[in-house]
Symmetry: C2
Subunit: 660 residues, 2 copies
């Protein structure tokens, strides 16, 4: 019998590998799965390697060398188009973040230039984003009220941007981009829709011309605050606001229906701002209940305390027409405020990254080029650090702007440079014009953009395809609107990770059966043709065996055997004499897992002579079994390369031993 068994194919115990070797190769597989340096390594000669490395770090060197006139034409058109989105969005989202509108414009000047040099996406258009603005604001507001202390609040925003940048750069350099992978798409959709709902309701304040508003962060308090002041509602801003919401939505509808009219929705925000500003200027509506934006001191004007106003002018006085002033000296590094800035920076930084990475991937796929997420993160980080030093708050790559950029035919990151140049012109010459821009039109633009972000269709799709994903999405949504942005995000992430952990803790085990006239074994519950083999129970484990599932698997395997024995007993068939575990899908095993196999062997020995057989273990598993000496306990002769080998050998062995 011994001879026969040894004829069959067996998996080999892999030769021992040096510890450093194993460590480095698993490090590479974990953090460099896309092998970004392969191209550099391929080049020959030091100089060529150096050029390849420079091209890797600064993609502009790569594409600028082959930049053509036709590219420039396309980039000019798309740059002008995204500028017409960026200027009103820059002002509006700064308002969302409780910051002076000019900071919104600053944030659309320096960061796009940095990104154009370092970024590898051809379609992202950089600027301040609604979600990151909102998250940052909701976290800073808790500590410093922007209405009472606008200067400190502004400086905290710069500090938060600095830490966001440092965090993003660190993530990128340490190749920890996989952290962003843990924000599932369902979580992001729920979070974004929640934020959009919340912001839309919040902006009703501007539309209705309310002076006072709740400081609470949930929609229940906001609705209460709105409906308790019905006597304060003003018809002038409401009419204007609703009209412009309608214009924004209508233009989006037109662009959706006809792809060649994409520019209609792209230019609508800027046109709306210009038209509304002209109306106010000509009709003197700012004297008739229509609140106007002061580009430099938006948040200060809202307070009616003249002292604070004057004091703030003195402090923020360095902000005037012209390009971004330096802001390093304004940073707040004293405890406990710096902790707030760090926290807000990390959370809004990761939100910004998640949005930007998703956007970069979508458009990279559409145009078939590759994005190295970790490199992109570094680019975003450097961009935010540079931004924070030049009076910008946190910036990212919002979806809406990238979509406009893509559909207006951009070719390279040059479109960002064109956009930045137009923002510069605005900063230098056009700022005074915004003195007459009514708040209500900015609210209308924000609401118009936000309504497009509420992705109920995707939620329905999730409900249809995957109920757990739907729960994650709805959990994040409800968390945002009823509690706060961070709570919503936390609910989404925790639910998604719990689901992963639950899957690992409760892996699938299934009984395999033989497909007649073949050596193939498949799941019996799903393949009606598969037949069980008398005397054998063949189980497949479809997960790595880890501490978190070891005791479950032991119980589950025991139960499979008991159930099978009960069934056979009732039918008076041959009892089980071999249990074959197909370990083909067990990608890894830890110490507890090895202990589990040992325990299963012991349990079977105690239950009347059932033989445990292992089939198709990976070399990782063989390695651990060997090192822990469990292989000797299970018996090298009971480990086979495939299930069919195991069945053949055991059946032959069984007949032999019976005849003996």
């Amino acid at each position: 019998m011994e001879r026969r068994v040894d004829q069959v194919r067996r998996p080999a115990v892999p030769p021992p590998r040096a510890l450093l070797d194993t460590f480095l190769s698993s490090l590479k597989e974990t953090f460099f799965p896309d092998d970004p340096l392969r191209k550099i390594g391929k080049e020959e000669g030091r100089w060529r390697k150096f050029v390849a490395a420079v091209k890797y770090i600064f993609p502009i060197v790569d594409w600028a060398s082959s930049y053509s006139f036709s590219f420039l034409k396309s980039d000019l058109i798309s740059g002008i188009t995204i500028a017409s989105v960026a200027i009103p969005q820059g002002i509006s989202y700064a308002k969302l973040a409780n910051l002076p509108p000019i900071v919104g414009l600053y944030s659309n000047f320096v960061p796009p230039l940095v990104y154009a040099v370092m970024g590898s996406s051809k379609d992202i258009a950089v600027g301040n984003s609604a979600t990151a603005s909102l998250v940052m604001a909701s976290m800073l507001e808790k500590e410093v009220t922007p209405l009472e202390n606008p200067t400190l609040y502004l400086h905290l925003a710069f500090t938060a941007a600095l830490f966001a940048g440092i965090f993003q750069t660190t993530l990128g350099l340490l190749r920890l981009g996989l952290i962003v992978d843990f924000l599932s798409h369902a979580c992001i959709v729920g979070f974004m829709s929640g934020t959009a709902t919340y912001v839309s309701i919040q902006q009703l304040k501007g539309i209705l011309g309310l002076k006072h508003f709740t400081a609470s962060n949930d929609i229940i308090h906001m609705f209460k605050s709105i409906f308790s002041q019905t006597h304060q509602w003003k018809w002038e801003p409401a009419v204007m606001g609703i009209f412009f919401i309608f214009v924004v939505l209508a233009s989006r509808f037109i662009s959706k229906k006809r792809a060649d009219l994409f520019w209609v929705s792209a230019i609508t925000p800027l046109t709306s701002v210009v038209v509304a500003t002209l109306i106010v200027y000509l009709s003197h509506a700012d004297k008739h209940n229509i609140e106007v934006v002061s580009p430099f001191f938006l948040c200060i004007k809202r307070t009616e305390n003249i002292n604070i106003y004057n004091q703030s002018i003195l402090q923020i006085g360095y902000m005037k027409e012209g390009i971004n002033p330096p802001s390093l000296h304004t940073m707040v590094f004293s405890k406990p405020l710096v902790m707030v800035a760090i926290k807000a920076g990390i959370v809004s930084g990761i939100i910004g990254l998640a949005e930007a990475m998703a956007v970069a991937r979508i458009f990279a796929m559409a145009k078939n080029y590759k994005i190295d997420s970790n490199k992109e993160m570094t680019a975003f980080g450097v961009m935010n650090i540079a931004g924070s030093l030049t009076s910008c708050y946190i910036t990212a790559g919002p979806f809406s702007r990238a979509a406009v950029n893509y559909s207006s035919g951009c070719k390279t990151a040059m479109s960002n440079v064109v956009m930045a140049t137009l923002v510069l012109i605005t900063l230098l010459f056009l700022m005074p014009l915004f003195h007459y821009t009514p708040s209500t039109v900015l609210s209308a633009i924000i609401i118009g953009a936000m309504l497009g972000l509420i992705d109920y269709k995707h939620a329905l799709h999730l409900w249809h395809v995957d109920k757990t994903d739907f729960c994650v999405c709805i959990g994040a949504y409800l968390g945002v609107i009823f509690s706060s942005a961070e709570t919503g995000l936390a609910i989404g992430v925790v639910l998604s990770v719990l689901r992963l952990l639950l899957f690992v803790a409760r892996p699938r085990t299934s009984v395999l059966g033989n497909i007649p006239n073949s050596t193939i074994y498949l799941r019996m519950d799903q393949n009606p043709v598969a037949r069980s083999i008398p005397g054998f129970l063949i189980l497949r484990i479809d997960a790595p065996i880890y501490f978190a599932n070891a005791s479950y698997l032991r119980d589950r395997i025991t139960r499979w055997i008991e159930e099978e024995e009960d069934k056979l007993e009732s039918r008076a068939e041959t009892n089980i004499h071999h249990v074959i575990l197909d370990l083909g899908a067990v990608g890894a095993i830890d110490n507890c897992g090895v202990g589990m196999l040992e325990e299963v062997k012991k349990i079977m020995q105690k239950r009347g002579l059932i033989q445990l057989v292992l089939a198709n273990p990976a070399s990782e598993v063989m390695n651990k079994l060997h090192k822990s000496k469990v292989m000797d306990f299970i018996g090298r002769e009971w480990i086979f390369l495939t299930v069919s080998d195991a069945v053949a050998a055991c059946a032959a062995g069984g007949r032999n031993s019976e005849s003996v």
Copy 2:
């Protein structure tokens, strides 16, 4: 060609199942993997079902009906043996928890009786455990100093035990036992060894007779405190303490060498206490630097403030010789202290459960009976609730005591009843004797027990078998000794869970090759006989496809294709025209995963006509592909039951289309 392709076997799309059905079956698989109610379901008739249910909830009904005289004899012997361990341990561990020694004895009276009725392990001996005591103490100490406010501290300990019980019961009833599965064995070993090291060093205080000691929780401060007071060291307690440490270690050594002398180490603690007490009583050593234990007010005697002492006598005055007094009226339910009690209860409760479950499993395996973890948790929870109402603090099933119970031949939980009876006798009649028990002997017993818990051998084994497990173990160890018990536990759990998440985020993908003259496909890197098939790239994904790994898998698959193409190009061989993904080991897929497959298909379409083929998808995967319409995009005709079917069909199709 169409006809040919359709001849091959194909996986079926499973018929749609009702939502509730799917939900219930996955609920059952997750929370009732061991199907504990199967036995009840099997019985026929209402009365028999009822009896089976009673037997399930109160295992005592089951075993008491067949209890025999020979069982009683064994249980008596083992009960007496564990009592001789329980009495000194009860007092010592109460000291560890900064509680009066009598509370330690109370905790060894009520809980074992409750466990005897409800517990299903035959070998666990219930009582206060070192780790749970220490964790509870370290968390309560932060808020209430036991030396300054012993009464409040005591009442908080009862409250913590109540919440621990409620938490454990809830976990058990909700079948959330899987939470304990997330404490990996490596983490528990590191945590226990760390606790043991920490406690041993802490107990040097008793051995050296120091009056003042640092309140800090890390060993650096403790060593500093010990060595800054060298002039305070007293030789009398040191000589006595070191002598008894030696006795305890020697007895353990003897019992280890000869299994029939197991009782030597079992009776040593009690003998040591009796001998030491006698020495002090006869030599009046309590007047010569040897501090004695006051069984009722240990922690109070240490303070030198008479006022607090008197006040405490008034308050804890109800504690005197006799059985456990009720303690419901003493519970602290006012904020913020109740939050501390809840937190301490949950953490020490989960530690207690983890230890007890591990112990129950080890001995259940040794005697071949089954433990239902969730039911055991409920039993422990009820036991702790009952205990908290009768002046007990948190109890568990410590390993050392269960080992003594097992090796002295216990048959049923009756040994716990015997032990409780002996503790009762001590409480009723022997308490005054402890007035002369020196503290140093208790420290010696604790150190002796703790040194046995430092499991450096297991750590070495982990280093040998699994480096990551070793890191988890050492992380927990260092966390405990340099920071605090909770930190150590948190480090261990976080590291283990991170490892799981990392595995899920970076699953293994491998290239498969054909074993000549068979339909079997195995990993090429591990099976040198496996041969690749020209024009095909066969990849296997060994993990569920989830949001956390979807983008990694997309990148990795793309890279496999690129690398393979580079290789083929350099050898001028046939280029790849089919990429087969073997999904046999993909246990589940979420919405992002489905999207990933869609993206891979798109990428391949863009890269010069490579055909994506799926093989062996599970019905879960088929279901999601079908629902999300991605199946239509990939093409039903490109999904096969096995890899060999796919290769055969595609090769035939390829030839056909070439000939056309």
